[in-house]
């Protein structure tokens, strides 16, 4: 997709969206937001990049393979669970090392700990999974367009009579595409 407006806008928007996604992630515990929504915002940023500049560039900008990002996220969430198990004796129990109890029974300090790590894990899983499927889908569709279109004539012949037939033909081509 070669659109000058989109490309230019993306250069300004994508970094902002990424920063905003981290903000959403961090504020999530007290205000609307959180790892899931933040991850979706970041994924939107990459979808924009992919649309404006192509899959290859979007992949380069992500640096890690999407599934690696997702796996790191799952690992972080598991680690947060283990942290709770080691520190509190229950898997996934919340641990805040910087929080101290005050004299009047309240708590004070910086609420950073296993729960935030868990949320970061959710964020990474969402970014990795959405980007992975998106990039793969785009590549599959591009590969299909580059194929010489001969599938339609060979199968069934004639103009498609129903949506189903149109779909089937396209699906057949998508599935068999690489072998032709």
């Amino acid at each position: 997709m070669n659109s000058l407006i989109l490309t230019t806008a993306t250069r300004a928007l994508a970094p902002l969206l990424l920063v905003f996604s981290v903000y959403i992630l961090l504020r999530g515990h007290n205000e609307p937001g959180g790892g899931f929504i933040g991850g979706l915002v970041a994924a939107t940023a990459f979808a924009l990049l992919e649309k404006a500049e192509g899959v290859a560039r979007a992949r380069r900008l992500l640096r890690l393979r999407p599934l690696t990002v997702a796996a790191l996220g799952l690992g972080a969430a598991l680690l947060a669970g283990l942290w709770g198990a080691v520190a509190k004796g229950h898997v996934l129990a919340g641990v805040w090392p910087l929080i101290e109890k005050t004299a009047d029974g309240g708590k004070s300090g910086l609420p950073v700990g296993s729960v935030l790590l868990f949320d970061v894990g959710v964020y990474l899983v969402v970014v990795g999974a959405v980007c992975g499927v998106l990039f793969a889908l785009e590549e599959a569709a591009t590969a299909l367009e580059c194929e010489p279109d001969e599938g339609g004539a060979g199968r069934g012949g004639g103009a498609p009579k129903t949506i189903d037939q149109t779909m089937d033909r396209t699906i057949d081509r998508t599935v068999d595409g690489g072998d032709r």
Binding site: G34, A43, V115, E145, T170, V175, G178, D179
Partner: protein, 761 residues
């Protein structure tokens, strides 16, 4: 299990390790056996030792252990014979890199089996029961490079596994009916159980479990097929221990379920038929190991038959024969393994005149076989006399049972002869190997100990066995104290005369064995129906149904998937709505005009998606529907949900655009699909009606109240949606993100697999 080729096994040398480590399992088992021997005096005095810790306290399930005569006898067999088998295995598989895996599996099995017989809790028993099923599967399929071994392993798993499921249902019903999962407490509630309406159902389910495990007709076929396993495995699992788990279960539940007409007749008939069929087919075999396998089935049949006898004499016979059989059968299996290894064959016709070359093997085989044939002064003789005595005392049909026992025992005598006499006598030596010789000590010591025990117990039966084990076993089976004495010489009585008849008949059959075998082989070739045919038919029918329903439900076309999913969903929702009894809510129609406007926008967009022939317009309309719903969420204060909804809508449009915009334009004049429209309307209306109906019920705000109260002080977060996601219900979220990762991996694999394959042929 990771290495598929047998050649690779042979090429690899044994892994380096601590020398003598291969004898460790035998040592552990021997120590365990010694430990269990320490319980004998207490159990012989009539004590019952118990121990329990809570496991699932909410359901009343405990990890409970009970040691009485029955459990102790099995534990001694498992550890004692286990020690012998482990020693034998270390020698039999010396230098084979697979030895470690075999020993690990055997140990795993031994632990499962011990857990099974020591368990006093029905659920504990079941867990270990399945443990033996799984380890048996792995051990039968030990030669996993062979298709035959894999098939037989699967067959054993399916037959015993299905029986296991039936058993679980039976045990759960037992637990519901008695209000306890303790087997020892169930044993005291026999009268309640026998009067219960569920009695017949419980009995059928439990018997299915026991009969499949202990290879009773018509499930007997898996046991001879299990001989695909290495010989030590057959000796241990498929003769001495695992296949007796079903017998153990029947014995254990006998006080709770036994004594009724249906119990007596089912066990007697199934046991007798199994016993007779198996002993006849034993004579048909030319492979000595298979012959022993069929005699094992015969023994299991005999045990079941006597457990159904409903008379103390029959129980005494069963208890004694349990020990007799374990001793002689394990040693005979191990000795056939010696023949296979040292003389090169297990075929009855391939071996002759080996007594000179393998004197020790010949002697030990003779000792074990004499016990099997029931000659005095071996323990087998006592076992046989007791069987006749028990048969004549059974509650059902003494003449039939005694006749069946005589016939089966005569066939046993013939088989003992074929195993112990045929390969060793004769002037000319015949064996596939050039220099047959006696095996190393590791391979003759275990069978020797077992065979000599058979003799020692026979000479001093009451002192060594009767008081120490048989009496406590019989007490456990009968559920009441039972005093008995074991004697070698009973005087001249009917059982002795039957014994003489057995020997005469057995000798005749031994001499006629080749002719009998030919006749049976002819009958088999002539299309004699076999129970295994039923298994094959059931298996292929199951596969057929699976293939058919996959074709119908998963046609590979997205419209089919959607139709099936939506139709089922609509059915479920309408079913729930129409059968629901909750009050219908007062419908508050008074909403601001703005809300109506948004609802109108959503409705118009939805109609547009369906009617437009431009894919781009359809995608835009789809986005409008999502955005409208998100705005509604905002208006009602669900900011988090609205944000998520909006972002998901954006991404969905991006995804759909990639695929749809590459499709050709929707052709004009396509017929309208009214069926799909009706389905969509049914589902949409159903969801709407269900949502309204839900408002009429009690929404259960306690959880919300709890979260609201505890979110900030406990979890240090004011956004309770997020706190629920990442703290209160973090385990759910962990599961969800795992699913997201798995789905992404699958989608990416599906999208790239074909192209990658095309690029790298």
């Amino acid at each position: 299990m990771t290495d598929p080729s047998p050649a690779a096994h042979q090429a690899r040398s044994a892994p380096p390790g601590i020398p003598g480590l291969r004898f460790l399992p035998a040592l552990v088992a021997a120590l365990a056996a010694a430990w269990f021997l320490g319980f004998v005096p207490a159990v012989a005095r009539g004590e019952v030792l118990t121990w329990a810790v809570p496991w699932v306290p909410g359901l009343g399930i405990e990890l409970a252990v009970l040691i009485d005569g029955l459990a102790l006898a099995f534990a001694l067999m498992i550890t004692g014979i286990g020690a012998g088998v482990f020693l034998y295995t270390a020698s039999y598989f010396k230098g084979d890199p697979r030895l470690t895996r075999l020993q690990a599996l055997l140990m795993l099995f031994a632990v499962s089996m011990l857990g099974l017989v020591l368990a006093d809790d029905a659920i504990t028993l079941f867990v270990f029961w399945e443990g033996t099923t799984v380890t048996s599967f792995l051990l039968i399929g030990f030669d996993h490079a062979k298709k035959e071994a894999r098939d037989k392993a699967l067959q054993a798993l399916l037959v015993t596994g299905l029986g296991g499921l039936a058993l679980l249902a039976g045990l759960l019903l037992l637990g519901l009916e008695t209000g306890t999962f303790r087997l020892s407490e169930m044993a005291l509630m026999g009268d309640v159980l026998r009067a219960s309406d569920l009695y017949l159902g419980i009995l059928v389910l439990v018997l299915l479990g026991a009969f499949t495990k202990s290879a009773q007709f018509p499930f007997h076929f898996w046991l001879p097929n299990a001989m695909a396993a290495p010989t030590p495995v057959s000796a241990y699992l498929h003769s001495a221990t695992m296949v007796k788990a079903g017998v153990y279960l029947l014995a254990r539940l006998s006080p709770a379920l036994g004594g009724t007409e249906v119990w007596i007749w089912t066990l007697t008939l199934v046991g007798a038929v199994t016993m007779l069929l198996a002993s006849v087919w034993a004579l048909r075999q030319t492979d000595l190991k298979l012959m022993l396998a069929y005699t094992t089935v015969m023994a299991l049949g005999a045990l079941v038959m006597f457990l159904g006898g409903g008379h103390p004499a029959a129980v005494k016979a069963a208890a004694t024969f349990l020990i007799v059989h374990a001793l002689y059968k394990a040693s005979l299996f191990l000795l056939v393994g010696v023949l296979d290894k040292k003389a090169g064959s297990r075929e009855v016709d391939a071996l002759r005149g080996l007594a000179g070359a393998m004197p020790l093997t010949a002697t030990l085989t003779a000792l074990a076989a004499l016990s099997m044939a029931g000659f005095p002064p071996f323990l087998g003789f006592i076992g046989k006399e007791l069987k006749y005595e028990g048969a004549l005392a059974v509650a059902s049909e003494p003449v039939f049972v005694a006749g069946a026992a005589v016939l089966a025992n005569a066939l046993m005598v013939a088989c003992a002869g074929l195993v112990a006499v045929r390969p060793f006598v004769g002037r000319t030596r015949r064996a596939p190997k050039d220099r047959p010789a006696d095996p190393p000590v590791g391979m003759w010591l275990p069978p020797a100990v077992l065979a000599v025990l058979g003799l020692a117990f026979g000479v001093f039966p009451d002192l060594l066995l009767g008081r120490t084990l048989i009496e406590p076993i019989a007490t456990a089976i009968l559920g009441e104290p039972f005093a008995l004495t074991l004697k070698l010489w009973h005087g001249i009585n009917l059982p002795l005369l039957l014994s003489l008849l057995t020997f005469a008949l057995g000798l005749t059959l031994y001499l006629l064995a080749p002719r009998v075998r030919r006749a049976l082989a002819g009958a088999e070739a002539g299309g004699l129906p076999a129970a295994e045919g039923g298994y094959d038919a059931a298996l292929s029918a199951t596969k057929g149904v699976a293939a058919w329903q996959t074709r119908v439900i998963q046609g590979g076309r997205i419209t089919v998937y959607l139709r099936v999913t939506f139709a089922l969903l609509a059915l479920l929702i309408w079913g729930a709505v129409l059968t629901g009894t909750g009050p219908w809510p007062a419908f508050d129609i008074d909403v601001p005009l703005l809300h109506w406007a948004i609802v109108g926008l959503i409705a118009v967009s939805a109609v547009a998606i369906v009617l437009t022939r431009s894919r781009l317009a359809a995608i835009c309309a789809l986005g409008a529907v999502g955005a409208g719903v998100a705005i509604l969420f905002v208006l009602y204060g669900a900011i988090d949900v609205a944000m998520t909804q909006l972002l998901i809508e954006i991404l969905v449009v991006v995804f759909i655009a990639i695929a749809l915009l590459r499709l050709p334009r929707i052709p004009a004049g396509l017929p309208r699909r009214w069926g799909d429209a009706a389905l969509a309307a049914a589902l949409g209306l159903g969801v709407a009606v269900a949502l309204v109906a839900v408002l009429g019920g009690d929404l259960g705000r306690e959880l919300t109240a709890y979260f609201e109260a505890n979110s900030a002080p406990e979890a240090l977060g004011r956004n309770i949606v997020n706190v629920i996601l990442v703290d209160f219900r973090a385990l759910d979220t962990l599961g969800e993100i795992a699913v997201v990762v798995i789905a992404a991996v699958a989608a990416i694999a599906a999208l790239t697999a074909r192209r990658t394959k095309g690029r790298r042929p």
